[in-house]
Symmetry: D3
Subunit: 241 residues, 6 copies
């Protein structure tokens, strides 16, 4: 990696989230030469591993290991790095130590963009908590007085919220549609790593197709698959389009 | 109680809340054969017992006991069970232990519906905190990996937010009006247990009458007394009406 | 039809709208014994018939006839009556005469529910205009002094807004999910009448499947296909569920 | 009237509206020495005179006369002037001529405040239409090039929206509570002129009492009866309170 | 102009609007080689020419001519074409004929972007009316059945709402900040054509400076002057930034 | 100070906030004879002291001292008292002990108004946290059972949110404009104490001028400098204006 390499950072509550919601963006930017790092706050071991708990006597450590391995494999397919915080899920409980670890990651990665959850989700309190945490760390990372180093300047990257499971209930208002046609096959391959959630493979394939048609309608350009995002901060531009 | 008995769960910050805001729903469903359980998080001992503190030298324990007894009596009139968490009020401070106790209650009661506070209330921070807590516990209770028991499946019940004191200031948008004519006398009787708050007896009688007239206008059916609720999740139906 | 027969009214801007957005509700209620009447305000001849205009020299009257025939056939498949207002599209221009015709229809049909468009749609001004018109007629229809007849009383039915093409851009917030499994095959058959819009067959099949999964998640009941609606007025109930 | 007399303008769709929603403000300011003028756009003859139409064979002219007389009597009780536009109701249809008449009234009265309807009301399209009309005339009235008279300057008065029948459904967010204790008896007397709507006397008495209690809670000052308003434009002040 | 030239369209209610709110975008894109066309719906002769009416006996035709000449001069400074609709202001009254003229302009210009007013403005009803009109024409222009020509395809351009005078009162939520440093001097020169409104020269210079600082903070890039816009439709992109 | 003296309380996250956002209100009320107390929760030592950290080897204690001294000097210029909580910034971490200290201050000061931050700020998590904290303490301070003293009654003062750096991104909707012409020179002098942030002197001078022009437009009264506020609770009044 040279200093000129662009980078992206993804902060997700659980493993499925970066796969269903952002795998297109991740692999697309990897293909464009970005370094992309995923921070996976919890393994989804309690709340998003229903199938695993159907086996009597299964241990928490086994469920976590299974989700860890799946996540690592999905990240590898997408070409991204992944770091696990193992914060526990349902509820996600994030410590100050984790906050400062994420701050360090911001400073080390210096991302061009950050992807995280929507700010509300009545179905899943871990999601808005992860979003709040990712945004708090972003602000601290650019504070000159945090681990001061006068030789460096930090600026805060744009934040894009990825699509929740039931967008209208989460006050999700997409204002960016990202064409993921070049990487659709990789996104689908990452789906298939999550072997126990086959019904969601099809659900999120349909989401990608419908966002693709919307992208096509909004732009007049052909497009089959897309991901929807909500940009949090104004887009600063040199030309309107 | 047979396994077929329907149940309801009410999570309130203070004693007055379940009386003024939800006593109609509670006794109506009790009359329909539901088991209804109230979780009363605090006694309202500091912030909602003004009259008690006018007596010089009164002790906190006395105030709590008085509110406990009133609440228990009101619950009895309505035919509901009640459990006190004694979390303290102004501010309400809810521990992880209380959270897991509430999760256990969700699993034991398996409610058909949950009633709790609106999500905002600039007059009273305890109210949105109680609502957040009730909703967090609801999500955890249906996580397969929380105290896993492969022999059982849990699903998350619908949530109805009850009417705050000043609805428009609390972003309360009622989308359900419940006819409480069959139980009005019981609701009024429960009011009268709260002997020190006579001015609120009349206030909430007027609220019930006005919501009743609105219910009548919206449905074309005669109705005198009603309670207003805000449904949080979509209503899943087999027929439109 | 006896006076006891329940009825439904659907007010749509263009033919495709009642097919893509409400065909499930229409045929479901027909199967339940409702009389359902569709008022189709325009033929979509200018703005929603792109394929027809690709044939050089085609006349407006031909396009309208083609859309009329398709619409009539789709309505027949669903078991509904249909009336055309031929108001013109892009822009939809509704006259006072049409308003009073719709008022008469409200009074003749006395619907148990009304289905119409969402109140905003930046992609298509005809849609909110149709919604405004349907709601204005609803209010006039229950005015005692409009064509007064002291022997009759009118009340205003509940209104359900059906799902627009890009829901989040139209401020569409679904709060009702209707299970349409019993009639899915009929809805799909109605799609196929709109022979020139094959890409939308698949789009709206995916919408139905995704709303079905959401319905299933929100209710805990199995469900494959659903339609989403936004209820405009409070739901007046005798029991919470 | 001297040039120093303060004035108020009230623009209502139907007679009941100024009585139920603004009679307190009207008579309070009359008592303070203001000249208050009511513009009543329609008689509510079709949509708000149900009782009148129960008499077989009643003529439109009779209904209008009855509502005219009631309105004039109520205005007299409150000490206000009243002018009728007879624009027709359900639907209210306002002409350009009426618009310019209202502009002239603004210029003649030069009100210190304007009271009118909320901007949304799904129950009654006449209400937002009256509000839009009142606000359009206000802007035109201060345009220097409308009937130019270089010797005079006009400024646009603050607008207060009065409380609709079902406030939360009308996106009504009260931010002003007006103490009407000094004139409550007059407001009630005006109610009683509307002899056929006894059920609303009690409804709006309860609204006044509940807004009074809210006023008392928000200010810490004793108060029994109040009216709620939504201020449209910022309040420009010399001191915070 | 070759077919490859990019184009922009600006639809404003009054002359001042394109100068204060969009002169930066206009001249910036002209400098980039775009053809930019301004449609100025009214001359602001009644509502935005206070100074002109201070001269006793001035005629409407004179005021219009003066505003016409100023506008033409400002457009020339910015390098844009301008067409006047002379629809009248306070109130702006737009005919069907004007609508179809604007539709023709959309088809002739085929803009890459459209700039117009925010959708709400309680201070000035002409502004949202102009925005509604610009957006209605945009939708009609891409309807295949409007003046059908099978040899051509039309798509609808992105719409950017420019900044109103009091943004928060107009529900204006800027999500695009355009750097106008390269053309600031031209924007300021266009201000100075509006000789009678010197106080607004300074006001909108301050707006440009403050938006510039915000643009700089949001992007981390140096910038002095900017214009804020609200994008109506999702931004369809191939890369996040 | 006699018991009749009016008072104001200002709760800010960092030193700059009370200077840029509220210095006008502070010194204006001091001039009117109010006692005004500022509670400054953190020194802004990490996140709002960029210039200080450019000096290699500077210590946290030095930065805090510098900010303390500047703040004390600015408060002195404005005529206000100031108390520092030294809670730490980026992130602001407020303890229960601090909460109860603020409650004591509310009781001691008994403010006529409270000024604090807006409830959202995606650029700076300390700001909404300070606002939440100020509002929580306000509610506790009026609870009779908190440090009960039957001889005294407490009521909760109105809250005004001051203007954030990028108002539209913070859901800031100003509904109060305060004329600060009488004290502008003092506000400007307080700016100049913050010697390292010269670019903000000009930014906030422009904000004051633009709010001044808006105040003038909304009131019809001459005004040059103003501050914008958002009132949280309804304004309870005896007269409309």
């Amino acid at each position: 990696m040279t200093s000129a390499q662009k980078t992206g950072l993804v902060v997700t509550a659980h493993p499925g989230d970066f796969v269903w919601r952002a795998a297109g963006a991740i692999s697309l930017h990897v293909q464009k030469g970005y370094r992309v790092k995923i921070v996976c706050l919890a393994y989804g071991e309690r709340g998003e591993s229903q199938w695993a708990w159907k086996k009597p006597g299964v241990a928490m450590a086994d469920v976590k290991r299974q989700r860890h391995d799946e996540s690592a494999q999905a990240a590898q397919i997408l070409g991204a790095e992944i770091e696990f915080f193992d914060a526990g899920d349902y509820p996600l409980r994030l410590s100050e130590e984790m906050l400062y670890r994420l701050v360090d990651i911001y400073r080390e990665v210096q991302p061009s963009f950050v992807l995280t959850h929507a700010s509300a989700d009545p179905y899943n309190g871990d999601h808005p908590e992860a979003s709040r945490f990712a945004q708090e760390a972003r602000v601290i990372a650019q504070a000159a007085g945090h681990k001061p180093d006068p030789s460096r300047a930090y600026s805060a990257p744009p934040v894009f919220l990825f699509e929740p499971h039931q967008p209208e209930q989460c006050e999700f208002r997409p204002n960016v549609i990202l064409n993921i046609d070049p990487v659709w096959e990789l996104k689908r391959k990452a789906f298939e790593v999550l072997a126990a959630q086959k019904h969601l493979w099809e659900y999120y394939t349909r989401v990608a197709l419908n966002r693709g048609l919307q992208g096509s309608r909004n732009s007049g350009r052909p497009m089959t698959y897309a991901e929807a995002y909500q940009r949090v901060f104004p887009d600063v531009v040199e030309e309107l389009r």
